[in-house]
């Protein structure tokens, strides 16, 4: 092998050039995929609406109006999605709920990515006994009914939204750790890693500078697939009354209220459900599209 011929700068150049074109190509391929493109637009729309929508609407999300209880959706009343049993405007509440559901999705995912990537690269990079033990632990945790764990955590430590982020993040990292470990092992074999080692770079620097950038594609794909499962998890807990509490609201809380009142007001169930399902479906399509885009097949 002619490892010694690479200088450190060369290596960084090779990697970054290859990396950049790989990702911009992948992005172009993603935009060509119609399902992903439509999903991307829908997701962007829902996100922007959740952030800015409440400022544009004339109703506030806690504003109760006893004269307009259970109003069906209509354009004249300006309650486009109707109102609930307290006369609050459903659309505003859905958008506020979206803020919370989406941010829990993103924050908890980031927590689990952080744990998962650290854990996975360490196990994969150092290998041997350490790897065996670390992966056995993951395997054991994997066979747990983890949602029940989260519920127990919520029971013991009280219903606290920050804890919710942490608890969800703490159970969702397992898949990430497994995938990252597998990828790390295959990247580790590559020539440029050997080269960096022979140049005397520390393991920590090699992981930060060479392994993690090469994992970026995989991590992005799994983020898009993990956010929906976190959103579901949060809604699940909120549905049971163990998650987000009034006066705060999330899609799970709204769906839960809606399902209790569906006999009187179907819109209270259908609209929050629709927003949630659209978001989940979009994220899934984007994830699938990204996976295909980053790993194009021949035929």
């Amino acid at each position: 092998m002619n490892i010694k011929n690479y200088s450190k700068d060369d290596l960084d150049n090779i990697l970054s050039i290859k990396g950049n074109s790989l990702y911009s190509d992948a992005f172009k391929r993603l935009l060509k995929n119609k399902a992903s493109l439509v999903s991307l637009i829908i997701l962007l729309l829902i996100t922007l609406l959740s952030i800015f929508g409440p400022y544009l609407l004339q109703y506030d999300f806690y504003e109760t109006d006893w004269n307009s209880i259970y109003l069906a959706p209509s354009i004249e009343s300006r309650h486009y999605f109707g109102t609930d049993g307290n006369g609050r405007d459903l659309l505003v509440r859905i958008l506020y709920g979206g803020r919370l559901s989406l941010s829990i999705g993103i924050i908890a995912t980031l927590v689990s990515v952080l744990i998962g990537v650290t854990y996975g690269t360490i196990a994969g990079y150092f290998g041997g006994k350490l790897d065996t033990i670390m992966m056995r632990i993951v395997e054991i945790l994997y066979s747990m009914p983890y949602l029940i764990f989260v519920i127990i955590l919520m029971v013991i430590f009280g219903r606290n939204i920050y804890l919710l982020f942490l608890a969800i993040g703490a159970v969702e990292w397992l898949t990430m750790a497994r995938i990252v470990r597998g990828q790390t092992i295959s990247i580790k074999e590559k020539e440029f890693i050997e080269a960096s080692k022979s140049l005397g770079q520390s393991s920590f620097m090699i992981i930060i500078k060479h392994i993690i950038p090469n994992l970026a594609g995989t991590i992005i794909v799994y983020i898009t697939l993990m956010v929906p499962s976190v959103i579901i998890l949060e809604s699940f807990l909120s549905f049971l009354g163990l998650g987000v509490q009034e006066p705060l609201t999330s899609w799970g809380v709204l769906i839960s209220e809606g399902s209790r009142e569906m006999e009187t007001a179907w819109w209270l169930l259908i609209f929050p459900g629709l927003f949630m399902v659209l978001t989940l479906a979009s994220l899934n399509f984007i994830g699938d599209g990204l996976r295909d885009a980053l790993d194009p097949k021949e035929y």
Binding site: M144, L147, I152, V155, F236, M276, L280, N284
Partner: protein, 307 residues
Amino acid sequence: MIQLIIKRLAIAIPTLIIIIAFVFGLMRVAPGGPFTNERALPPEIEQKINEAYDLDKPLIHQFGIYLSKIAKGDLGPSYKYKDFTVNELILSGFPISLTLGVSAIIISLFLGSLLGIIAAIKRNTIFDYTVMGVSLIGICVPSFVLAPILSLFFGLYLGLLPISGWNGGNIYNLILPVVSLSLPQIAIISRMMRSSTIETLNSNFIRTARAKGMPKRRIITKHVIRSSILPIIDYLAPATAGLMTGSIIIEQIFGLPGIGRYFVVGALQRDYTLVSGVMILYASLLMLLILLSDILRGVLDPRVKIK
């Protein structure tokens, strides 16, 4: 085979003990939990807890007692229901949850696999697109959205099915809960089965079977299925975990007094002993299922035996 079972048990039992230790530890740190000293409980329960767990003895001793009680199948007194033990509560809910869970798992495995195989054989036809489209909905619509919508439609609008209650296990009362519980799993399993069947259909040994002039039906039944079902066997335990958590919601929505119901009530009321009892029951059941799927895999795949 026996070796495999022993090996699996050697992993499963310590795992269970770790879970129990974890649950025990959590209850110790839980404010007002059964293993802490400061708590405000009705005197009857206070006394029962003291009797049950020897709270004046050292910690490790307490854990020993806790563990040996669980090994004997005794989950202790309920923390909130004066007149019941956790065993009694779980036993009263178990038949309901078991009926629900077993029907759901059988239906999801059977329908999911069947739809997946047919979609793979007829890939890129209307049938394939329909199954995949519907299963996509099944994946993106969580059960707590699906279940209320189903009962809104079939129960309230069409008036075809009861939307709540157990009614002694009447089949009509079962339909909506079982369907809402199975649909997401059918969706996942059919997608899994489709892609593994396509992979098998493209493999070299299927080409050999075709070159041998075997009829289509025989190729599918004798050569394809036993290979393509393997990922589903591995998915058995995760599917069960999914159904357990799913049933917590479904029992809530359809007002069924199963274990999941007790779990939620226990969780909301901080009935620590009840919640941890359910947790331990679930974990044991899952271990059993992992063992079962290992055995099944050993039966179906001759390559497993030598490992």
